[in-house]
Symmetry: C4
């Protein structure tokens, strides 16, 4: 079978240089988790490792830190306080500061939950972290509650809403997918951010550029696959792709992993944990098509 060329518009990452080291591939910080929800942030962290980040640290409430750590020994964890409702409190800010300074990119959201403190914390991070940042899941729901949800960013931003989350973000509860796509592009251009509108043929846009993702299948309709995507985008931000390109390549690899997965498993049986184990097959497929291209 002839090798399928990679689709036009997909970022091409160069092979790793022989003298590169962990630092070359960035230090990713992911903030999330709450009591009862240690899995989401771990899925993101595992995906961030598999996406190629050099060093991955998960900042989580101390009540779940051992549980989060236990999923995977290759990432590090960073204990934040836990409030009475099992969430990260606002005063975790000072404890986070130290880590943020040493981080090349930031993800906020997986398993975070919602609280008054988190509303302020997420807004604070959005407005002060100067590196690239991705906001997903409850992080995004909390942003939506702000009077001007996406205003005040201090650096490059990626948001990854599905249709329901996008509706909340723009305050239009009955928006169709088609109208949402138009609005996502307009919003991205106005705010100078990257929007990943998840769904069939996921759209990635920064207002100027548009990516209609050709990979993926309904096997992804299961809990945790969004967390895996967040981790992959974070990994590519850590490796210095710009926000739009990181989102495009991550969305492509994520869908490709799902497509490769259902060649041996099935749509119904696919879990987020299974998906993780196919990320490397997706990388491999991407690399062989890239290398074929260049010869």
């Amino acid at each position: 079978m002839p090798i399928q060329p990679l689709p036009t518009g997909l970022p091409i990452i160069a092979p790793r240089a022989a003298d590169s080291h962990k630092g070359t591939y960035g230090r990713a910080l992911l903030v999330g988790g709450s009591v009862g929800m240690p899995g989401s942030i771990s899925l993101s962290g595992q995906a961030c490792l598999k996406g190629g980040a050099g060093l991955v640290t998960l900042a989580v409430p101390d009540a779940i830190i051992n549980t989060v750590a236990n999923f995977e020994p290759s990432y590090m964890t960073w204990a934040l306080p836990t409030d009475r409702s099992g969430h990260i409190p606002l005063h975790a800010k000072s404890r986070l500061r130290e880590k943020l300074e040493a981080s090349s990119c930031l993800a906020v959201g997986p398993g975070l939950g919602q609280s008054q403190g988190l509303f302020h914390l997420v807004g604070h991070l959005y407005e002060t972290f100067t590196g690239p940042m991705i906001i997903d899941a409850d992080g995004l729901n909390l942003l939506s509650l702000r009077s001007a949800p996406l205003a005040g960013r201090a650096g490059p931003r990626v948001i990854t809403p599905h249709l329901g989350e996008f509706r909340r973000l723009v305050g239009k509860p009955h928006l169709s997918m088609e109208d949402a796509r138009d609005m996502a592009s307009e919003l991205a251009g106005r705010q100078k951010i990257t929007v990943v509108l998840k769904g069939p043929k996921t759209l990635v846009t920064d207002g100027q550029r548009h990516w209609h993702n050709p990979t993926g299948n309904p096997g992804l309709a299961t809990g945790g696959t969004g967390d895996v995507l967040t981790g992959l985008i974070t990994a590519l931000l850590a490796q210095s792709l710009d926000a739009y390109e990181a989102a495009v390549l991550a969305v492509f690899l994520h869908g490709l992993a799902a497509d490769l997965a259902i060649e041996t498993t099935t749509q119904a049986g696919l879990t987020a944990t299974d998906l993780l184990s196919f990320v490397e097959a997706a990388w491999r497929d991407y690399e062989s098509r890239r290398d074929h291209l260049s010869t």
Copy 2:
């Protein structure tokens, strides 16, 4: 080798629609677990994911929540109180209410243990949850203690007794398997519920319809395989099959997974964890026979 057609009477699920999402495949809630018994409810939860449910939440005593969470990052957990005997207390009712309202189906029983509080809690759920509900293991043993065990259901119900549990349920300690089968059919018809009488050639019946399951083998005679079945039934209820059809298809896939498993492993060596890893092979076999049928 020619492809074996699927047996007559087996429900045929349509392929997933391209625009489907997590919500399409339901929100399953599973209640169980007790101190020392975190494994059963986790097996059910993992099977529920592998069975194709969109979102899976396990409501467990807070004393074991981290342990349960640690088995699998793709499901969520929901902390209930733990009483002094290590069980879920009756007053967990109010904490459960919030989750029940957002759940499309409910499973109660795996690893639950028994207590006075649980006796009342299981009865309460049986009599008030209006969606489809499956009751297994200690959930079923607790129902059996009620003066009219199966009376007062508020929605569709599936029970999954093995012979010993069925004897306790009907108060006949010496019932033969043959008589139990007759009585199961009669009971299902009278109570308008679905009874899964587990054993060789497991019977599924709602009084009108009867399924004599052709799959499965004695390798299933090991701890935890019943929990896997409970999870699969829950997954299919979440995907909107009616109670009888969900039970039939789950019983079929569960036995098929065991049959496929012993082609590479053995009856003696099969564990419930191994069985889980063959659920996707069972799905795959089912789908290829379904698709062959339709061509």
Copy 3:
């Protein structure tokens, strides 16, 4: 390649009957573990499942119960008290009694550690449990401290010393392996117990019968492989083999698993966890040679 016949003297287990269930394959209870040592008893428990026991329960100090539970969801755990030194105290006796009555066999030792309380507890179990019982590792070291180490057994007993443990047991610190073999046979005959003297060509003897095991390799010289053997013997006791036959077949399968493992891995790289994953290959090899025999 022609199929190698099974060696003469190896017990032949019949295929599982179609109408068998969990209860048919016994209820195994394994007592062990201490703070810092949750792995050993878990390895035994996992091996007991893979050895074919119907239901497996691990009774461990409550300080490590969640850790033990987390290794494998298919077994159950039973919380015993933990004393200040991290061990099971003597007064765990009453809590154990309830489980012992429902157990078809008992293993004591993996990860147990040593204390005054355990010295008395192990002696008590040895002298009162009327079913078959296996004593290994620290359980055996504690028995060795009694004035008459093996006196007073209340049922069938299997002990599994390596040379060092056997020397302690008989109070002869310089015994050669050859002399130990002679003495093991004499001891087994006198005490009417089964002795498994571990080493190259492990000896199993009840004084009348002798098994010189042909399987196994030096890859087994790594921590935890003895725990796996204990679990396999327990599984076969649970399935109603007599003590000598259970020990012979378990020793054979254990060594065979190691032999099959190093066909794909290596002696240096083999871990106890790897070994576990080859138990089913050993069963499969045994069954195919058994079935070939019978045709």
Copy 4:
């Protein structure tokens, strides 16, 4: 394809003797871990098992002992106190003494963190443990803070700095890799220790002998791979190789595992956990080339 001979200068380990046992392959003690960092010491411990050590014990702060234990049942753990900052305090010395006496080699560093107490503890171990010892990661950073970092060793020592760590060790923040290589050789000769200078073509030197490692690739540029190397060196020290030879063979196998890994995975997707699973393939490749050599 013809079998590649092993490179000249690589230590050749003899096949395991038939009558060897766990004790033959040594008792390794690894000291590390801190709150939030349980993964590193576990990766080292798992690598130490896969490297062939007979018995592996991880001495860690009691606050994380269950988490560390849960990664792998085949090693043992040993609880040290935890100070308020989540680290091992200086007074852990007395608790360690007992284990040190029974250990054939020692590793210090993975996930250790830094504190005043640890500064003194690491120096104390360096100056008093008479067996072979490897110091890595924070262990090395703490040594660097001493006025004479490498003075006063009580036995054979291996250090494993990457360029940044080596710069701190010698107090030259702008040293080039080339100059570092020269200085590493000079330092090793003067201190009579073995230095592993990690990077492309990792250098191993004891001042007299020099190994320029031919294996490895930039897929190793991900968190945790250094911990795996530490575990492999420890395993070979436990098996009585001298410090230089242990380091050479471990560095070779570690790089080879990475090279074999990326034949099925990719550089970007490789994690430290993946690397671990290829250690046995590296052993296998080494052994087949060794055995081919000898015929």
